[in-house]
Subunit: 449 residues, 2 copies
């Protein structure tokens, strides 16, 4: 049932392109879903992909354009004239068209817009270009079905048929007044079961979630998920209905949010992808490496200052990597659970009971690890007091890392900074340094040196 | 527009509960959305929440039940009789009802099922309980609108009105034959615009994505996202239509996938949450800490074996934390980009060009860090050859970490193991050990000791 790219298909396409057999190409591709064709084009080289792109008609290519990898899309757009691009955009929904225009250079943008044939569509696209990408305005499309409160069910169904022509999914029907102010919604089901002479004002549902054009995209995602909505209307400052956001637009927001947390934890910024350039990749990664380097240079000072200690008790130094790794792991675990708790709402802010639970978890884990270490050190090196000192400092360092790992993301969250930063290199290397300081301090106390 | 919990509201509710003013409670809560009521109940104590739960009618409480935090739901279910639970379930969609039954003990499960009033509904729920949670069968619900290919548009609309009574969202109308075999779909729009005497077999669309009951949930999510579907039908081994999955069911799958990667990177397993018990948290975290401990004990051997080196060149040892941290960070960055590339399809398997790009990125970053370190060491400690040895080993260790960070997730992916494991403690601590081995080995070569 599902489509799989085969080497044979790719080879066949390449041969058809070489022999310029456009007719056969069309026959072969016309039956395929646009998402599948996009997958195929990504496997071909730029010239071949562009050739196929020009053979297919714009109704199909417009949809394909949306599914292509960024660099191939950029390349193909670069080879199309403003008029050709405008033809593609005339086929697309307003927000998809606006997204593609947003990728063009400033001059080309203006040329393409002036070539758009459908004036209403062009006006809508230009309006969407005004909004910031990460707001409801940047997510919404202009396509929606709306009816006037003064119409009857009969007029309503007639009008809906006209409006629905350009809309792939109807979802809700919004009810507005003469000023286009959003009043409520009608469900398709209600419409199917109401007599056709009933005025809309008598049947529509007045309660309705909506968002403002400047609502943040993650907030829109949160509301749509909480109330289990498949579409939400967007209003401007005067409560006028200006657009609609559907659940498929929100899935990307949800995925990007999750990806961002993961990237922050891995010490990457700027939302990069595996197919970005070397320069982009370095720009997103090097800053974190440099921050970690500076912090770890502090660690080198701490070690230097404790040279006398590990010259006398030589096993102290060889467990430093174990100590840092454990502290780092405990800290990241603690932070990750807080970050996820904040994200899904199971944790709202600092809670004494949560913190005490985290301390019990890390105290237990720490004790198990320390006891093991004490036994191991005693058997291997027979210096019981040193082993004792190492184990005790291990427990203290673990408790410290758990405390920092729990409190830092909560603190960042309260200061409206993304708490996921706490799972990244900055905090984990800081944990290293604090861990080493505590380790030698406690060892010094116990060993009395 | 949006609901916010206020302290006043909570206080008012608590007073109404104390004075047993059920009527006023109903008035206050009846106007609220069930997701908001769930949020309020989570703020109250168990007794209060249960009290409110028993005051409201089951149409409302059934929906609330779905939105509650796990422990509150468990607690409330514990205080309801099998008959009361069955009343709630009669109000829910089949898959939601099955999910709640799945949380009950074995005996209670049987009692509740025997109390269900709607026999058809009960049969559907029992059927759903058979499927594994992470398959299409475990995700789907039985509620859907289907029509027979032999009907006319007129019969079809009449039947649809009946079927749609119990379905919150219609999405597609599926077309089946007399054996309930899935043949295709009808769009609502087509139905609105076709004459009522036309037979269905003439208007339905034969091309249709579907999944099998045993398709994995992440695969369902992938297909629905790729083809931008809001609902997908589920068939059994005989191609019979057995259920339907809608996009809102899939959002949780997408979020869980992203969460799982993040948790693996943070050294947590078992999909835990901040409100899990101490025991659950330890079970999910301690294994990774123990694995890291065993690996880092190897590091202690390596250091012990190189004691002669750092006794003679004392600055060698103080940069070990910097070296491990940098290697760890580079490795995690490299792995995270591969893991995300594999997840979103920009990377499919080992590619020489991608690997060489990663090497260029890490070579550049590594050189910058090493040059900085060389300068710093020369100024601080004036041992130029030692500084040189440290810098060179740093570059080699970084290249090694980048290589491991890139190849390990690709290897795991090919072996059908979740590549996100490569960003977790196992690989990062292994990187530590390899890093330290390489570091001293190169330093020994250069310093000729």
């Amino acid at each position: 049932m599902e489509f799989k790219i085969s080497k044979e298909l790719i080879k066949e396409l390449e041969q058809l392109i070489q022999s310029k057999n456009d007719q056969q190409l069309e026959v072969l591709l016309n039956d395929m879903h646009h998402a599948d064709i996009a997958e195929v084009l990504d496997e071909l080289d730029f010239d071949e992909a562009t050739y196929i792109f020009k053979v297919l008609d714009s109704e199909k290519t417009a949809e394909i354009l949306l599914e292509l990898e960024d660099d191939l899309r950029e390349n193909i757009l670069g080879r199309l004239s403003p008029k050709e691009i405008a033809e593609e955009l005339d086929e697309l929904e307003t927000n998809d068209a606006a997204d593609i225009i947003g990728e063009l250079s400033k001059e080309k943008k203006a040329e393409v817009i002036s070539e758009l044939q459908d004036v209403e569509h062009a006006k809508d696209i230009v309006e969407l270009l005004r909004y910031k990408e990460d707001t409801a305005g940047g997510l919404m499309h202009k396509e929606l079905v709306k009816v006037n409160e003064n119409w009857t069910v009969f007029t309503c169904i007639k009008e809906m048929r006209i409006q629905a022509e350009n809309i792939s999914r109807v979802h809700s029907i919004y009810v507005v007044d003469d000023e286009n102010k959003l009043l409520g919604r009608l469900s398709l089901k209600d419409l199917l079961t109401t007599s056709s002479k009933t005025p809309i004002s008598e049947v529509y549902i007045k309660k309705l979630n909506s968002v403002m054009v400047d609502t943040e995209d993650v907030e829109v995602a949160r509301i749509m998920q909480k109330y289990d909505l498949e579409a939400i209307p967007v209003t401007d400052e005067l409560d006028r209905l200006v657009g609609r956001i559907t659940i498929d637009d929100i899935i990307d927001v949800i995925k990007d949010e999750a990806d961002k947390d993961y990237q922050l934890a891995a010490g990457i910024t700027n939302d990069i992808e595996s197919n970005d350039s070397v320069y982009e990749l370095i720009k997103a990664r090097l800053p974190w490496l440099l921050i970690a380097m500076v912090i770890e240079i502090v660690a080198s000072f701490v070690l230097k200052g404790n040279e006398d200690m590990f010259e006398k008790f030589s096993t102290l130094i060889i467990f430093v990597p174990l100590l840092s790794a454990t502290a780092g792991n405990i800290g990241v675990q603690a932070s990750a659970i807080v970050v996820q708790g904040l994200a899904n709402g199971t944790l709202k802010n600092y809670s004494r009971s949560y913190f005490s639970k985290e301390l019990r978890v890390s105290m237990t884990s720490g004790s198990i690890i320390s006891l093991f270490l004490l036994g191991y050190h005693s058997i291997m090196y027979q210096q019981y007091l040193v082993g004792f000192a190492i184990s005790i400092s291990m427990v203290v360092v673990i408790l410290f890392a758990a405390t920092l790992g729990t409190l830092v993301p909560l603190f960042l969250h309260r200061k409206k900074i993304d708490p996921a930063i706490a799972t990244g290199p900055f905090i984990t290397t800081s944990n290293d340094v604090f861990g080493i300081i505590i380790y030698f301090w406690i060892a010094r106390l116990i060993l009395g040196y």
